[in-house]
């Protein structure tokens, strides 16, 4: 029960922030893919800078544990490409689709229904994928730091600086 209440509170706050960031809109999602309006990139990269510093700091202090998803190059890449194709057509990713409905953009409901069907189809295909795509290029739970042997804080500083430079460029180009 505690788990469910905590999830709900976290979700309400996340939904409010997604809404206030104006990332729940079809035109913002597609706008980013057309390089016309990079609102969702600004939102994501800002969240990543703050989260990257906070998560790694607390993990170094032993307060929390990292939970890195295993890298399987074939599955991550092919799945990622399929996701991108569907994302462009639907105009929403899973989290933003439900948020868009909350904001009154009820046409996102069609995307949500499609996503439920897509998940069901995946469950049927899973046995066949398990021995093929899901094993192609299995690297284990690797990070930029573990793969390169360079300290994670070097990467955090470099990525943060890179993202901030991108922000400056976005603003200059009025994207």
């Amino acid at each position: 029960m505690k788990e469910l209440i905590l999830g709900l509170v976290t979700g309400v706050l996340f939904g409010a922030l997604l809404q206030q960031g104006r990332v729940l809109r079809y035109e913002k999602q597609v706008g980013a893919m057309l390089f016309k309006d990079l609102t969702i990139l600004k939102f994501m990269l800002s969240a990543i800078i703050v989260g990257m510093i906070g998560i790694n700091l607390l993990a170094d202090l032993g307060v929390i544990a990292l939970n890195v998803k295993g890298a399987v190059v074939g599955a991550n890449l092919i799945g990622g490409i399929l996701f991108g194709i569907g994302w462009a057509v639907a105009g929403y990713c899973p989290g933003t689709s439900v948020g868009a409905i909350g904001e009154g953009r009820w046409h996102a409901l069609w995307a949500v229904l499609g996503m439920l069907v897509g998940a069901a189809v995946y469950a049927e295909a899973y046995p066949a994928l398990k021995s093929t795509v899901l094993t192609w290029g299995d690297l284990g739970k690797v990070t930029l730091a573990s793969v390169t042997g360079i300290n994670h804080w070097v990467w955090i500083v470099l990525l943060s600086a890179g993202f901030i430079a991108l922000f400056a460029w976005f603003e200059k180009k009025k994207l």
Binding site: L18, G21, F43, S46, K69, G84, G95
Partner: protein, 176 residues
């Protein structure tokens, strides 16, 4: 809020929320919960399927691995809907919309056409997200925060394919 700073500020606060979520869940639940959304769609599909074919779900290898249940993340996804509703009502940006304006400029305002497009897009995107092991929340936000290689690969796929398809859909005419 100043429109220019809005996505940066809301994004940075979402970063704070992501960190707090892991800290609080570690303290209260004994395991750190990282933001994500797409696993919920698999669990929810399983819950629906259970109503019509419980044995089929029980025997499915994927649902044996990804348990069909209401969990923390499913409540997050439900919360996103509520939070977006509350926030948009509070600042007056809530608006009922049956077809996105950008879509109707290009493909017309028929609800059925948009419904078919969004539905098919949803099917393909979720199939891909499950194969990739996450969506822009799980791989994009939570993955990149931890510098996960899987997150970088998946995000390259998400945006790479998204850019190509969106440009094929909108570049020729229509779009402003």
């Amino acid at each position: 809020m100043n429109a220019k700073w809005r996505p940066y500020l809301a994004g940075a606060l979402a970063g704070v929320l992501a960190v707090l979520s892991v800290v609080v869940s570690t303290q209260l639940l004994g395991s750190g919960k990282y933001l994500g959304a797409s696993t919920t769609f698999a669990r929810a599909a399983g819950l629906v399927e259970q109503q019509v074919a419980p044995e089929h779900v029980a025997n499915n290898a994927y649902f044996t691995r990804t348990k069909v249940k209401v969990d923390w993340q499913m409540m997050v996804v439900a919360g996103i809907l509520l939070g977006a509703f509350a926030a948009s009502r509070l600042d007056g940006s809530f608006k009922l919309e049956s077809v996105p304006p950008v879509w109707s400029d290009r493909f017309g305002s028929k609800i059925g056409v948009r419904a078919i497009g969004a539905f098919l897009g949803g099917v393909v995107s979720m199939f891909g997200a499950r194969m990739a092991g996450g969506c822009p929340s799980g791989h994009g936000l939570s993955g990149l925060m931890q510098l996960s290689i899987s997150g970088f690969i998946a995000m390259a796929g998400f945006f790479g394919a998204g850019v190509v398809v969106a440009n094929l859909m909108y570049r020729k005419g229509g779009a402003k």
